[in-house]
């Protein structure tokens, strides 16, 4: 089956019910999306399909009908997306394992809602678990990214 990830087209020979996460990680070697729970309860595997955040552990690869973007495709170390730059500026990460999912979730939120309220942020980001407890910095980074994006 065909799968476009970060602008690159791939031809995959896997069962259609394989979760997108494992097609990305073990078949395509794209390891930015992380495995944390496998049941859409932690958000570490969050990627975009046509710009919308989804839990790749709970999307079957056969059901993907859009372009997939992972953290590696959102921005790069040399050209970070505004959300990544805000995460860098606030030094959000501790262990960092959840952060690619947090960043993808935040990027999707800001795409949809460029000026989220505190409540909007709570609603959008509470599906992404951080065991290290970086939530105060996540909140601050989302706000910084929103401000930056609204400047254009």
């Amino acid at each position: 089956m065909k799968l476009t990830v970060n602008g690159n087209a791939h031809d995959l020979d896997v069962e259609p019910d394989m979760p997108l996460l494992w097609a990305l990680r073990d078949e395509l070697g794209i390891t930015g999306p992380k495995y944390g729970c496998g049941i859409a309860m932690c958000g570490a595997c969050t990627v975009h399909i046509d710009g919308v955040a989804v839990r790749s552990c709970s999307v079957q690869v056969g059901d993907v009908d859009g372009d997939v973007t992972t953290i590696e495709g959102l921005g790069t170390p040399d050209a970070m997306h505004a959300v990544q730059a805000a995460w860098f500026e606030h030094q959000v990460a501790q262990c960092g394992y959840c952060q690619s999912g947090q960043i993808m979730q935040a990027a999707s939120l800001l795409e949809e809602n460029p000026a989220p309220t505190d409540e909007d942020i709570d609603d959008a980001m509470s599906g992404n678990l951080c065991r290290c407890g970086t939530y105060p910095r996540i909140r601050a980074a989302v706000k910084t990214a929103a401000a930056k994006l609204s400047e254009g």
Binding site: V14, M18, P19, L21, W22, R25, D26, E27, G29, T31, G32, P33, K34, Y35, G36, C37, G38, I39, M41, C42, A44, T70, I71, E72, G75, T76, P77, M80, Q84, W87, F88, Q91, V92, A93, Q94, C95, G96, Y97, C98, Q99, S100, I103, I121, D122, D123, M125, S126, G127, N128, L129, C130, R131, C132, G133, T134, Y135, P136, R137, I138, R139
Partner: protein
């Protein structure tokens, strides 16, 4: 460039081109002969003097042997070295180095003695120094106990300064210019005329120079990195998805595996039927492993699916099967024959109770808790031509090597452990169980690299949790003050359970049973803390802040009860009772930060709690609102004394993270057992805290002592009691059992 400089420089460049040299510096060369592990893999012409600074023709690599599982250990170790060695931050490369006794942790054992951190007397100091000797003798390369900074603070600065002196000497020899006229800048020696000789260029000459035995360290006023906000070295990789964790490691030809073992920890496998698994898509092999079965496949998900399809007949648990039976064991352990310690016994509590009109009594309970780091246990292992390579994250590399040697039958020199960064640990990677399994699987497919990953369900149901505990407390108040406090704590021994699995034994009482309770700096006239050792139940282990994680709640909540019974102010009475000046200062700081005493308004309440753990006095104030839908945590204030805040940004992040950890588990989490198995299996029923529940957390680090301490754990213990005390203040409801959500709702 001066003539002599240019000649010397030309000559030198030829010399260094001829020798693709390497050099390594560290603290031991000048101190005493500890075998330097960096000498093992050097090519001819390279050199390694000591274990922390390796220089070759491509640059400087700093060896940071304490594992980074999110607490920023690599960056702070690098900063301590780079401060003295004089490197540009952007040029810093780090490597955890090989497991080696040279990297022993002198501070991790120092807290295992029955002297509170507040005891700076002769005997206590010597006992701690003895802990250093023990660690060195045993080669304890351990990351834990908030000990990275206290252990490294002088050791790594000395290593950096030593290397710098050798490089200056090398430059003097090469150029013929007096050493005193040379300086360093950003990885180069600077000659008087401004010519820069990079450390790489100097490495081959430096390799032959005996390091000085004494070096002077920079005064604090000249610090360039320490004490200032740093950009952690791992930040860029972690925001761009390019950081490689153990679970991301890949090898050509690698296969993927998982295991299922008896969720009744330590129970037998009576039998299993793997027919469906063996014929499942992508499965290469189904193999027995110790305690269960491993599935090797060509994709992790296929391995998970096949493992799920195996039918098991698990044997019974070697411990009581459910919570009722376990609580019975805990409750009956408050007995003379199970008494483990009584290191605190001031005044005469029995006499105080006899003469009192009223004795307050309470019983407290806290549950088992899983570590559940977000990255599940995993390891990549290759066994090929008699050589075993292991890529994994571990807090105990030398024990992990020993485990791999035991499983594989190979000698240590044929085992190579490559320590990876990890997605959290919180104490989970002080265990070697998953490494043993991965080695077993690699043996089944010799020559082929294998990546073993646990499913979240396997991870949750095979944790060695924080132990369940019970406290029985009695107290007397008199004339508006706390007069007597008698606290008994019954808990299984973490030390004997955990060290037993590492084939070690620890004689004597287990400090973890009473840590965070017996050693608190309060001058209560009649004050007694007794530890009772519960017979082994579920195998247990160290969970972020270890004994203090639960004892902070047990000790401080009942103290709060007594203070309220006395009619005293919770903050004022704690400050009045506190005899230890640094501890009093954190209480005073948090009172000031929170504007303690002002009116919060209707349906609001605030609570204070204090715990001294890992040598760090920490006070927290929690403010809550009692809303119609439940308790909302509005704000948390934290003050902690660490002697020196080495990185204010990471300090704040660690403290906030510890508060979230402490609050989230206190509110929402328990691990319960039924039929010998954990009932919680994933993050749907073991959530910790999510963002919507997270309050604003204001942090202040105090630097009023010369006792340099680490901050990975100390903010955890006071969080739960500060919240419970705040709930009491807001609602009048005293909750004596965790998690709190068994008794009250949170929004």
């Amino acid at each position: 460039m001066s003539r002599i400089g240019s000649i010397a420089r030309r000559t030198f460049l030829i010399g260094s081109a001829a020798i693709a040299g390497g050099v390594a510096f560290g603290v031991y060369a000048y101190k005493q002969p500890v075998r330097n592990p960096l000498t093992d893999d050097l090519a001819e012409g390279e050199a390694a003097l000591t274990p922390y600074v390796h220089i070759d023709q491509t640059g400087v690599t700093l060896i940071t042997p304490r594992t980074d599982f999110g607490q920023g250990a690599y960056s702070v170790q690098a900063a301590l070295l780079a401060e003295e060695l004089d490197l540009a931050w952007e040029d810093i490369r780090v490597d955890p180095g090989p497991p080696s006794p040279a990297y022993y942790n002198g501070k991790v054992a120092a807290e295992g003695f029955p002297f509170p951190a507040t005891d700076t007397g002769f005997v206590a100091k010597n006992a701690r120094a003895f802990g250093d000797v023990v660690s060195k003798f045993m080669g304890l390369q351990i990351t834990g106990g908030s000990s990275t900074v206290p252990d490294a603070f002088e050791k790594l600065r000395v290593a950096g300064a030593t290397a710098r002196q050798v490089l200056l000497e090398a430059a003097a020899q090469v150029t013929g210019i007096a050493k005193e006229t040379l300086s360093t800048k950003d990885g180069s020696v600077v000659l008087p005329d401004g010519t820069m000789l990079s450390y790489s260029e100097l490495a081959p000459v430096a390799a032959g120079i005996q390091p000085p035995r004494e070096v002077a360290l920079k005064p604090e006023s000249e610090w360039r990195y320490l004490g200032k906000p740093m950009t952690r070295l791992d930040t860029l990789g972690k925001v761009t998805g390019t950081a490689q964790y153990g679970i991301d490691m890949t090898m050509p030809g690698m296969v993927y595996a998982t295991v299922r073992t008896n969720p009744r920890l330590g129970g037998d496998v009576n039998g299993f039927d793997a027919t469906a698994a063996e014929t499942a898509n992508g499965v290469l092999k189904v193999v027995p492993v110790t305690g269960g079965v491993g599935v090797i496949a060509n994709n992790t998900w296929r391995a998970f699916q096949a493992a799920e399809a195996i039918e098991f007949d698990w044997g019974p648990a070697p411990y009581p099967a459910d919570m009722e039976a376990m609580w019975e064991k805990v409750g009956t352990s408050f007995s003379k024959d199970r008494k483990d310690s009584r290191f605190k016994n001031d005044g005469d509590v029995e006499a105080a109770f006899e003469s009192a009109d009223t004795v307050l009594e309470a019983e407290y309970r806290i549950p088992y808790l899983a570590h559940a780091p977000l990255e599940p246990m995993n390891a990549v292992v290759q066994l090929k031509d008699g050589r075993l390579d292991i890529w994994t994250s571990t807090q105990i590399p030398i024990f992990a090597m020993a485990a791999a040697a035991e499983v594989s039958g190979l000698d240590a020199e044929n085992i190579h452990l490559h320590v990876q960064i990890s997605g959290g640990s919180f104490g989970r990677r002080l265990e070697d169980d998953f490494i043993r399994q991965a080695v077993e699987l690699a043996q089944a497919v010799e020559g082929v690299p294998i990546k073993m990953t646990w499913s979240r369900e396997e991870d949750m149901t095979h944790d060695f949790p924080r132990p369940m505990q019970m406290a029985r407390a009695r107290g007397v108040v008199k004339d508006g003050h706390v007069e007597a406090y008698d606290l008994g704590i019954a808990a299984p021994s973490v030390a004997s359970s955990q060290m037993g699995r590492l084939n070690q034994s620890l004689p004597g009482p287990d400090i973890a049973i009473i840590a965070g309770a017996w050693d608190q700096p309060f001058a209560i006239p009649n004050y007694r803390v007794t530890g009772y050792r519960v017979p082994p139940l579920v195998p247990v282990s160290s969970w972020r802040s270890v004994g203090a994680s639960g004892n902070g709640f047990l000790h401080d909540c009942f103290l709060d009860e007594l203070i309220h019974a006395a009619g005293a102010d919770p903050m004022e009475e704690r400050i009045r009772l506190c005899w230890h000046a640094p501890s009093r200062r954190v209480l005073e700081a948090v009172a000031e930060m929170s504007n303690w005493g002002n009116d919060l308004g209707p349906d609001r309440g605030r609570g204070v709690a204090f715990t001294l753990s890992f040598g760090v006095p920490t006070a927290e104030v929690v403010e809550v609102t009692n809303t119609p839908d439940g308790i909302r945590i509005n704000k948390v204030y934290v003050a902690a004394e660490v002697g020196k805040v080495l990185d204010p940004v990471n300090f704040e992040n660690q403290v906030q993270g510890g508060v979230v950890w402490g609050l989230g588990h206190a509110m929402n989490c328990e691990l319960t057992y039924d039929d010998g198995m954990p009932e919680q299996t994933n993050f749907h029923d073991f959530e910790g805290m999510r963002l919507y529940q997270c309050p604003e957390i204001e942090v202040r680090g105090l630097e009023t002592t010369d006792d340099i301490r680490g901050i990975g754990e100390p903010s955890v213990p006071p969080a739960a009691p500060a919240l419970a005390n705040a709930i009491f203040a807001a609602t009048g409801q005293r909750i004596r059992e965790l998690p709190l959500n068994k008794h009250i709702d949170f929004v």
